[in-house]
């Protein structure tokens, strides 16, 4: 089926067209999906197909890239993630106790409403969530020139007192788009914190995803991912917040270091395995001596002709 598609002999079905359109949208580099959408629309020349592909692709893209949308009254922002999804187009911002209603395809927050009591965590959980949110905000303010963060309770939000487990999630998202400089990039971290009551520890799991795209007269993309684990003691909300923010700060700084080291290894080690800068002889190839090399002569020799 694929070979028929590639040599142009197969008819592309409507369903396949939508899937291909979806693929292009989902794989757009950070901050470039609207440019890709414009091109995909032109390729498809079918409003209905584009509509279907976009309706399916945009929500997935927005959540995996943890995009940040401004409130209509510019009083704040909301991150779009799987952690704070209340309904298909409703996302909770615990910091302001509001719910944002969004249009995924337009990537716009259309309106905000106050969160209902049952959408918010208990005051016990809110002590932990709020303290961590404040510490993470401080860290993100220092470490990311254009970053946003939020903290959500993803399990046990109705826990009222000591004695039960609960789980918080931290989302950090930074995007830079400079189309006039042909460069875009993004950094997303998500950290889950499982507060275990019996062991009195907090189990931390982190995921970082970094992308960058440079496309001036060429096209190169970076796609880097990492996962890590850590833990700390289950203490008071303030002490936990400081400890956990330090864990995040430490691991993310280490990861940035790793990325920088990977880049520095490229010229003489990793990239060298694809093509050396100079031949093994350390001189340019002797093109004027090519009469010395002859495939047919070598073959004749080894065949004994």
């Amino acid at each position: 089926e694929m070979s028929e598609l590639l040599d142009g002999t197969a008819e592309v079905t409507d369903k396949q067209k939508i899937e291909i359109a979806k693929w292009f949208l989902l794989n757009s580099p950070s901050g470039e999906i609207q440019y890709v959408a414009k091109d995909v629309k032109e390729l498809l020349r079918n409003e209905k197909f584009y509509g279907t592909a976009a309706a399916e692709a945009f929500p997935i893209y927005n959540k995996s890239h943890m995009i940040c949308l401004e409130f209509p009254n510019t009083s704040g922002e909301v991150l779009i993630t799987s952690f704070n999804e209340i309904a298909k187009n409703e996302y909770l911002d615990p910091r302001s106790a509001q719910v944002a209603v969004v249009d995924h395809v337009k990537q716009v927050c259309e309106r905000i409403r106050p969160a209902a009591d049952e959408e918010l965590p208990s005051s016990y959980i809110e002590e932990y969530r709020g303290a961590l949110d404040a510490e993470v905000m401080k860290y993100v303010g220092e470490a990311y020139p254009s970053g946003f963060s939020s903290v959500y309770c993803i399990n046990g939000k109705d826990v009222e007192e000591i004695g039960s487990d609960f789980e918080l999630a931290v989302a950090i998202s930074a995007v830079k788009t400079r189309p006039q400089n042909f460069c875009t990039g993004s950094w997303q971290s998500s950290w889950t914190m499982l507060f275990k009551d019996d062991l009195q520890i907090v189990e931390v799991k982190g995921k970082v995803q970094v992308e960058a795209h440079y496309f001036e007269e060429g096209n190169v993309q970076l796609d880097a991912k990492n996962e890590c684990k850590d833990s700390t003691m289950f203490q008071s909300p303030d002490d936990c917040a400081i400890s956990l923010a330090n864990i995040i700060r430490h691991h993310e700084a280490e990861y940035l270091n790793y990325l920088q080291t990977s880049y520095s290894k490229l010229p003489d080690t990793t990239f060298k395995d694809l093509r050396r800068k100079l031949p093994v002889t350390r001189t340019l190839f002797p093109w004027h001596h090519t009469l010395q090399f002859s495939l047919s002569r070598d073959m004749k020799k080894s065949l004994g002709l």
């Binding site: 995007v175 830079k176 950094w187 960058a212 190169v220 880097a224 395995d273 004027h288």
Partner: protein
């Protein structure tokens, strides 16, 4: 240059008493293939050089179009995966004396072009993506850690 790798050359005549040559190079630099240093989980380099040759009296005009496509992935247990992929295409035209023959002329042009592309990728393109990462999260020498109050 490749310490492994495969290449093919195809040539055909064109209507102006000249000819066109196509030099294709493919390298799999992953550690399971021809990656000598063993850092790459996945690594592929594809170069396509198409050179049009138009002979004149004592010289010939050469028009070279080169494309390089590559993808490299390093990965290890503790640090996750790191992938750079991309493509570049450039053109170069030269009029050269044919005293040393076409092979010399074409070969030197292709070698110069390929090295230029390789260096451009390494220094400019990879460098710009690194610059973007450092713009998103600038490296800081001082890790300012708060201490718990208790």
């Amino acid at each position: 240059y490749y310490e492994g790798g495969i290449s093919s050359v195809y040539m055909w005549e064109d209507e102006n008493e000249g000819f066109i040559a196509c030099f294709l190079i493919k390298k799999d630099g992953s550690k399971s293939a021809h990656g000598k240093r063993g850092y790459l989980q996945e690594g592929s380099w594809d170069a396509i050089h198409v050179i049009q040759v138009a002979p004149e009296e004592e010289t010939a005009r050469y028009c070279l179009t080169s494309s390089v496509m590559l993808s490299l992935t390093t990965s290890d247990e503790s640090s996750g995966s790191f992938n750079l992929s991309g493509s570049l295409r450039r053109q170069m035209s030269m009029e050269l004396s044919i005293s040393e023959g076409h092979l010399c002329n074409m070969g030197r042009m292709i070698e110069e072009m390929e090295s230029k592309l390789r260096n451009s990728l390494d220094q400019v393109y990879f460098g710009k993506t690194k610059e973007m990462v450092c713009t998103l999260r600038p490296p800081s020498e001082i890790i300012d850690m708060s201490l718990p109050k208790s």
